[in-house]
Amino acid sequence: METTRTVISKHLPERVTAKAARTFLNEIEPILHSDRPQIVFDLSVVKQLDAAGVDMLLECMGEVMKRDGDLKLAALSPQAAVVLEMTRTDRLFEIYATASDAVRSFSRFVPEVMRNQPFSFDRTTVADNTQGSSKGIA
């Protein structure tokens, strides 16, 4: 399954507070309102992400979904990852280790990229008595 539409990658600023979120939203509004937008947000430099920032992400997601597009996140900084996990919004986005993985995921599914995800069974903490023997191909 291949798609040739453009994927737009944007870096989020270091501080994603209410004012910065509004500015960023104004900046990307034309992209959000394009036809079937495909967007990747790179959060590698994000040092502060508050509720307004999370709200902004959700608003962007809502806008792109209305237009049959998608929004993915990439390269989450530790601060951003904690905030998204705490607000349980990390489940609403596909999150990739790098922006290039996220861009590539729009055109084809790359299973190897998913194996190091936080939800992968290799990293899930499970009560000892429920762990079984499951071994995969190396």
Binding site: F109, V126, G132
Partner: protein, 376 residues
């Protein structure tokens, strides 16, 4: 060379390899039952004569229908292995070799290489083991070795006979001992660790959808995940992180399915949040907490009606419509009021204004009359 297979499905300890009393081996993983996938795998390995000895349970009928072209024998869980030995005695002995498979777990054995190794090494019995040397519940026995087969089946294919040749399986395997392993099997298949292909169309990278599934606008379905045939995912629901929603299930509005397997024909109520779980048959197995609980309230977790039941319910409702309306009309007390014209409505005082008090229009002495209402 005539090679046959005997697949023993179910059995095991009381709570091992099952949920709600039903064996995982008979449940669907990414749209197809484990036993059907095992039969397909044996056929791909060149084995066409396959006999399934299955534990009799609520879903064994559906499991049998999913496996075409096999001989199917159902029996009580405690009688499973004895029946397997009987099948070997009656039909296995005519074959050159018989592959015995215990379908408690899932093992991706290369059956062609296994049989080739068994034949070239001139072995009487070959046991399949993993890299650590543990048996995987698969063995090959020469057709004439009835006693060896009986011994293997009596031990439920969990022991390696002393004289058996060993064949190391480097493929994926999963013991399917509990809900954790069952969830892991689906997740590993979605991320390509297991050679299990989702039964459906890849509608966008990493999202497979079965035939007849309906995903409402506003629902969020994130890769990788699987939506089975005839599944309904309602608006504002979220399905994410290697989740699989099996055949006929219904995810109601606003529910979040996160790293979870929703078993076939289950309903997940509106607004629920399920993560790291296996859900179905009115039970929830939470993997992180290591508990499995029953859910009585079907508004939380229920069983979806199948197509024929829905059709019957609709037909009954249609047939009862006219008599019910007739009876309602016959015994209803309230008559229909004719709507008045605007002029009449303005002139006629409201009925409440003419309501009489107990003292026929006089107020009780202790009340101070502040204002009278009406058209006087």
């Amino acid at each position: 060379m005539d090679v046959r297979a005997i697949l023993v499905v179910g059995g095991g300890e009381l709570n091992e390899g099952r949920m709600a009393g039903l064996p995982f081996a008979m449940m669907e993983v990414l749209g197809q039952r484990v036993v059907a996938r095992a039969v397909e795998r044996l056929r791909d390995g060149g084995i066409d004569t396959i006999h399934v000895v299955a534990e009799s349970c609520a879903i064994s009928g559906a499991a049998q229908r999913s496996c075409t072209g096999v001989k199917w024998t159902e029996t009580h869980a405690l009688d499973l292995w004895r029946q397997g030995a009987h099948v070997f005695a009656t039909s296995g002995q005519a074959a050159d070799a018989v592959v015995l498979v215990r379908l408690g777990g899932w093992a991706e054995v290369d059956y062609e290489r296994l049989i080739h190794a068994h034949v070239t090494q001139g072995a009487r019995v070959t046991s399949v083991i993993d890299a650590a040397g543990f048996p995987l519940g698969v063995a090959v026995v020469n057709g004439a070795r009835r006693n060896d087969a009986a011994h293997l089946l009596k031990a439920q294919l969990l022991e390696i006979p002393h004289q058996a040749q060993r064949f190391v399986c480097h493929g994926y395997h999963n013991a399917l001992r509990g809900p954790y392993e069952f969830r892991r099997l689906a997740a590993d298949a979605l991320i390509g660790r297991a050679a299990i292909k989702p039964a459906g169309t890849e509608v966008k990278p990493g999202v497979w959808v079965g035939e007849g599934a309906r995903i409402q606008r506003g629902a969020r379905v994130l890769a990788p995940c699987y939506i089975g045939p005839q599944v309904k995912v309602r608006s504002s629901a979220v399905v994410t992180r290697c989740s699989s929603v099996e055949r006929g299930a219904c995810i109601d509005c606003g529910a979040v399915i996160d790293n979870t397997t929703v078993l076939a024909h289950s309903t997940v109520g509106a607004g629920l949040d399920l993560s790291h779980s296996v859900v179905g048959y009115r039970r929830v197995a939470h993997l992180a907490r290591g508990v499995e609980i029953g859910i009585v309230d079907k508004k939380l977790i229920g069983l979806a009606e199948t197509g024929p039941v829905q059709a019957l319910r609709s037909a009954a409702s249609l047939a009862a419509f006219v008599p019910v309306e007739f009876l309602r009309g016959l015994f209803s007390r309230d008559g229909k009021c004719e709507p008045a014209t605007v002029a009449e409505a303005v002139k006629t005082p409201a009925a409440a204004l003419n309501a009489q008090t107990e003292a026929d229009g006089e107020f009780p002495a202790q009340l101070l009359v502040a204002r009278r209402y009406g058209n006087d």
